[in-house]
Symmetry: C2
Subunit: 502 residues, 2 copies
């Protein structure tokens, strides 16, 4: 079994660390940096503290300033809140009582999972009460027959995966943060990750949810069935709503069989037209076993070589592909991959390549891709973007950006989950200035739109991106989102200043 860092995470990490360097060296709070106005929520009083203490006892109610630090800062320190209390319920009933009380007393709440979201979604902006799922970590049922796991929302993704691995299944979600992220947070943010290409998104894989609404109502949308058409599919409203519509307390997930064999190819190609043809061919030839299709460009590979002394195992080429297969029969999978590669060579799609079937070799090749964040750690200022693009325009944006930046950029890097049409574009400059930012940002969003792309791909809006929702979605759509918020949380106590423009 492979253990690898998902690139989602490290791209985000790079992005956030950059913002941190730009923003957080001011050592200030989010509210000051972004000039946010506190909404008219009540402030915590002694009687509020007493109520929560009566429910949870002293141990599950954090008020110590030192202890509160981890609840007030994103681990990359790009946002910083001033909350004075974190609550750690264990049951749905406790969550319900807490939210009802907060709603009745106009106290704002910040749902908190594993703190791995990286867009400031789980960190209070002001003094919101932190409502942590960390003690709601019971795996309630694993149905060996149908392959469905039911658990509390605070279960750590890796624990769930280990649990279902015991019976030959897997969680169809893989993130670098899997050792600390919560399944409830994953669902709330519609987390993507590397397995999405093969196993689909959480809207398809989540079979049931239990959610507590702002007023304490427990919304039972639980189901363990792939087919369950009884009324509106309410659970899907909460997938990707980032704790702003309700607090997810339970999750039912379908789990596919765990792959017995994994093979990995690392290939060098001449141009992007051949990258595209190779992708289409891979989908046809590898079909049901294709599990990852990642691309790196020359600047990225050169940077990896230069900074980490990790050389390409196949020499230097304009583009590099990592193609992974996962299947149930090693011999068949290897056979398919070799047939595919031979055919690629014959058609001169691929100039050179290497294939790994043993775990340590696979890990060695994957590490080239995984080490990218380390590479960027010590470079100049980095502007990072996460977009989806139609594949024929996938690399056009990188070329356009390179041309647009001219000498203003030290380098422009393009790489990403090409199988999901998801590009990570990064621009390295000597140092951050407002002028350079303004030179990049109107351009990249407008150009992405011209190329029929999406300016936000696999990350939630959180706090950091909420301001840009109007750029990404039409007026009527944003209006409908605001109406949905009013329906489920009329007082607006659930995770204020997140997702929707503030």
């Amino acid at each position: 079994m492979l253990v690898r860092t998902c690139c989602n995470k490290f791209i985000s990490a790079v992005k956030s660390s950059v913002e941190y360097r730009i923003i957080c060296k001011k050592s200030d709070f989010t509210k000051n940096i972004y000039n946010v106005n506190r909404r008219n929520f009540n402030k915590l009083e002694a009687r509020h503290f007493q109520f929560f203490k009566d429910i949870l006892g002293g141990e599950r109610m954090i008020t110590d300033q030192e202890e509160m630090r981890s609840y007030n800062e994103e681990w990359m320190r790009c946002v910083k809140g001033i909350s004075s209390m974190a609550l750690k319920p264990k049951t749905t009933e406790e969550v319900s009582k807490i939210l009802k009380f907060c709603n009745d007393n106009n106290l704002a709440v910040c749902p908190y999972g594993g703190n791995t979201g990286l867009v400031g979604g789980a960190i209070p902006v002001f003094d919101e009460i932190v409502l942590s799922a960390e003690l709601m970590n019971e795996i309630l049922n694993v149905d060996e027959n149908s392959g469905v796991v039911v658990c509390q929302a605070g279960c750590i993704l890796e624990n769930l995966d280990n649990k279902v691995a015991e019976i030959g299944l897997m969680i169809p979600l893989d993130l670098g943060a899997k050792g600390s992220c919560h399944i409830g947070g994953n669902v709330a943010t519609n987390a993507g990750g590397l397995k999405l290409f093969r196993y689909g998104n959480l809207h398809g894989n989540v079979l049931g949810l239990e959610v507590v609404l702002a007023d304490g109502t427990v919304l039972d949308c639980m189901s363990s069935f792939k087919k369950d058409n009884t009324g509106y599919h309410l659970k899907n409203i909460f997938i990707g709503s980032e704790g702003t519509l309700g607090f997810i307390t339970k999750v039912a997930l379908q789990c596919p069989p765990r792959a017995n064999s994994i093979t990995l190819a690392f290939l060098g190609l001449q141009n992007f037209e051949r990258v595209l043809r190779t992708f289409k061919k891979a989908k046809q030839d590898l079909g049901e076993i294709l599990s990852a299709f990642e691309v790196l460009d020359t600047p990225t590979m050169e940077f990896v070589n230069e900074r980490l002394k990790m050389n390409s195992p196949i020499g230097d080429f304009p583009y590099y592909l990592l193609i992974e297969t996962s299947g149930s029969n090693e011999e068949h999978d290897s056979d398919k991959l070799h047939q595919f590669l031979e055919s690629c060579m014959e058609k001169e799609l691929v100039l050179d390549g290497t294939v790994a079937t043993e775990p340590h070799k696979i890990n060695a090749i994957w590490s080239i891709r995984e080490k990218i964040p380390d590479v960027f750690k010590d470079c100049g200022y980095l502007f990072c973007y996460d977009v989806s693009l139609p594949l024929e325009n996938y690399y056009v944006l990188v070329d356009d950006m390179t041309q647009h930046m001219g000498k203003l950029a030290k380098k422009v890097f393009g790489f990403g989950h090409m199988g999901d049409s998801n590009l990570h574009l990064q621009v390295e400059v000597d140092e951050f200035t407002r002028e350079i930012k303004n030179h990049i940002e109107p351009f990249i969003f407008e150009r992405t739109k011209q190329l029929n792309g999406s300016i936000s791909a696999e990350h939630g809006m959180g706090f950091l991106k909420a301001r840009y929702l109007n750029l990404a979605r039409p007026y009527n759509t944003v209006k409908a989102m605001e109406n949905l918020k009013k329906l489920f949380d009329p007082s607006g106590i659930m995770n204020p200043y997140k997702v929707l423009p503030w």
Copy 2:
């Protein structure tokens, strides 16, 4: 390439035909049979007709009584409305103008797709204006690179599938009604079908929607990307909402590669415990190529033998399985299936079996499963149920029902999409009586709940099941659904009397 009738459809057809025999021999309208009260909508006046004529012209506005018959009756004739007008817009803008006008003038609307839903969802109950998508049938884009098709909602499923087949892709949805059902209707009803087991549900496969709301607002939730987390996932609210929250005008769907090879096994087994073990083994051994796992019991197979003179190709056994594989390499797939079967035989899970790899043989074996509706055509009255159950309880319900009915039933049949935990249970009696119905219905719903199942599996609520929503979902959940309806359609003009209890 196989062409087969999806069992979803024929089970529904059997169910509806039975209801037809029970109900429609009264030759009456839905409103009378079910004693429904017409809500306080306005009736069509000359000025309304003129407005619609100005938009659509005479040809796309049907008012002829004879022509209206097909819009007023479900093709199985289990429901019958009294609408006097059907409108056939071609564009989103026309839909928007029509709905705005209807909303402003308090005129009820019944969205109409391919009329294949079979639960009365697309047929007016009273004089609702029928809004048909049949002329909105343009395929707008097929992205060969990413495998995404974008089309208007009235495209016929089979046409879409044929279109993407040209470039080696498939629509991840297969229904018996595919020659006439619309993709918009499929999405609106969250249609299941046989491919759901392998390719997942529409919440996972639909990437974008355009929807017109009751007040004419065009809600643009279009996207062609697997990763697009920009705000709430509004599109999912409309998947499975059966036209009661808005009218779907455009759909973007992801399309997987078309399978190159299909193999089919027909197996005989001793008892349900071995059926279950075989299912788990099939998931492990066949992994990524397993594409169908269907079960039939002895009464069902005997009925097929008796009525259609179609014998089991392997002799008589208590349970029969149809296991299909679909993959990209015929040799590999066949190899996997044979290894799996040999191992099943060795472990004495399976008593006998046959495998087909040639299309005509595959079709011959599938036809045993497909012919079940023909079998039931001439039997006594049939009560039909479509439930999901945890697999360990999958057949318990059939045994319990058999015992519960005693001599009241001629036979109890159990078969279905076991891979999706979806059981079709049918009870044959000499003739329909209220007493027998009352003997069955409280029992089956209560017992299904006791067995942790769902009383509604792959069908929408439509008109016929809307009354039972309160049985299937908790109070708070139904309340939230009603609030959602009020949010998107405050006047309640969109498909009244459907989905929610009336």
